[in-house]
Amino acid sequence: MADIAEQIVDLVVEISGEDEVADERDIDLFEEEILDSMAAIELLVAIKDEFGVSIAPTELDRSEMNTVNKIIARVSERL
């Protein structure tokens, strides 16, 4: 579980280029403009490659995946 969390933090940092999300896992990634819609799609593609968890971008509900902690929870429950 901890490993998944770390891996997802790494992905978000890698895609957003923003180191602070590692420590601020509850900030709203979209409101703070850390991720835009293109980066969000990129993140989903990376999650699919990394964990085999497929979340279709057309089904993405932003409010369910707008913080690092929510992304970790969403991926964990699908593993």
């Binding site: 957003s16 280029g17 923003e18 602070e20 601020e24 900030i27 703070e32 403009e33 835009d36 819609s37 293109m38 980066a39 799609i41 990129e42 989903l44 593609v45 279709a56 971008p57 057309t58 089904e59 993405l60």
Partner: protein, 522 residues
Amino acid sequence: MTGSELVDAIDAQALQNPDRVAFCNSRGEQITYAELRARSNALACWLADSTHVDSGVPVVIYGHKSPYMLVSMLACAKSGHAYAPVDTVYPPERVARIVAQTGNTLLIDTTASGSGKSGAGDARLLSIAELTEICTSTPCEDEVAALPGTDATRTFYILFTSGSTGDPKGVEITTECVDEFSRWMMSDYVFEEDGPRIWFNRTPYSFDVSITDLVCGTTRGDTTFALEKEADASLGTTFEVLATCDATDWVSTPSFVEQCLADDKYNATLMPHLKRMLLAGETLRPATVREVKRRFPGLHVYNGYGPTESTDLITLCEITDEMLADDVALPIGYAKKWSDLVVLDPETLEEVPDGKPGELFVAGNTVAKGYYGRPDLTEVAFGRCPEHLARGRRSYRTGDEVTREADGLYYFHGRLDLQIKLHGYRIELGDIEATLCATPLVHMACVLPVRRGGAIHHLTAFVVPAGDAAERGLRLTRQIKAQVRDMLPSYMIPRTFKYLDEMPLNSNGKADRKALADLIDA
């Protein structure tokens, strides 16, 4: 006759296919060829009256993919005005600069919300209510017959692109440019034999990739279907539109296609009528084309390239299976018909042999007049091609490094200066830097592209904060972003900010981009 082959062709469609839809959008608005002709004639009569707007001056057309933008463009040509299209993606301050640069004449606001008002400045404003009233009036035949029209050497449109000092620069495209571009596309891309097409349009009209859809779509009496930004905001709503638009022809940047490919539902079941896809505006990767062809069996995929200064595209070719056989860079195409493309050594301006990289120059009738009201910038970029190669025609120095192979195909390598393309948007890094430094929070700024897999992925800003910006990190980033939002469109705002105590400088006293690039890679 209006003096423009394109405008005449569209008017002819109004007589041949009056009820055919010329343009529609994902908001459900549409306009037929007969309506397009009648409304543009009515508006042209109003524009030709010099008590409303001085004759011959440029007019700003503000809005987002509304039928009235098309009506206004045609009306400008018919009444002898150049038009400058400005999409709502531009924030008010940037709109105001464009309005000021075109002489504060007239801004036609085609938005229902009236958002053009905030950027109109001293220009006369024509609201959607007034516009609708004028366009639905019926001018007398004599008035229409007396319209001045345009001519080959007159400016047809002025497209504003990012300028290196923070001021957008307006590229002046003539009627001859547009007409020759249209003729080339009809001969080398759009073939006569097939029936009416539906062109999927995603690019806003202040960017020149849209010229391909609009010109090709209307010349032959086809339908242009525009995806609006409301529907473009999420892939879910985009796909709903794609499923119902019946598009046969797709024109966009590669990065938009890559976004769509992230969802498995993007395939021939979603868009069963799609026959052709033209991609331009940035580097096209073989993997993207391979995946598109897998999802859409039998689809013809084309790669195009060209600067705004030479009317949208100057090279074009179909991407064949042979080109995809090895994982090597794809060609940007063969040279545009009737134009001369020459590859020169950027220092000596001597021709380089096939197979060797050099700077691309283009000479011909689709080269712009220059930058509107900026003879200084025009002189640097235009007319620099040696006379024996330009053969007496206008020429433009692209600043792009390319190679021409013996088979006539061109390959793009990159820029020779600080201009970049991000997701198809052309950006001068100096434009962003000047805007950042104009805020009280920033002392010095240097913006760099961050690359992944060979392509530019996002922008990052290295900033030395001003004295009174105490806190660094996310909070300061948010404050800076909020301050530049009125000046820069969102695609020009760097995604990430890094803070420095001092800027590394090179021997010329300028920011050392190489040292900063090493910080990104570290």
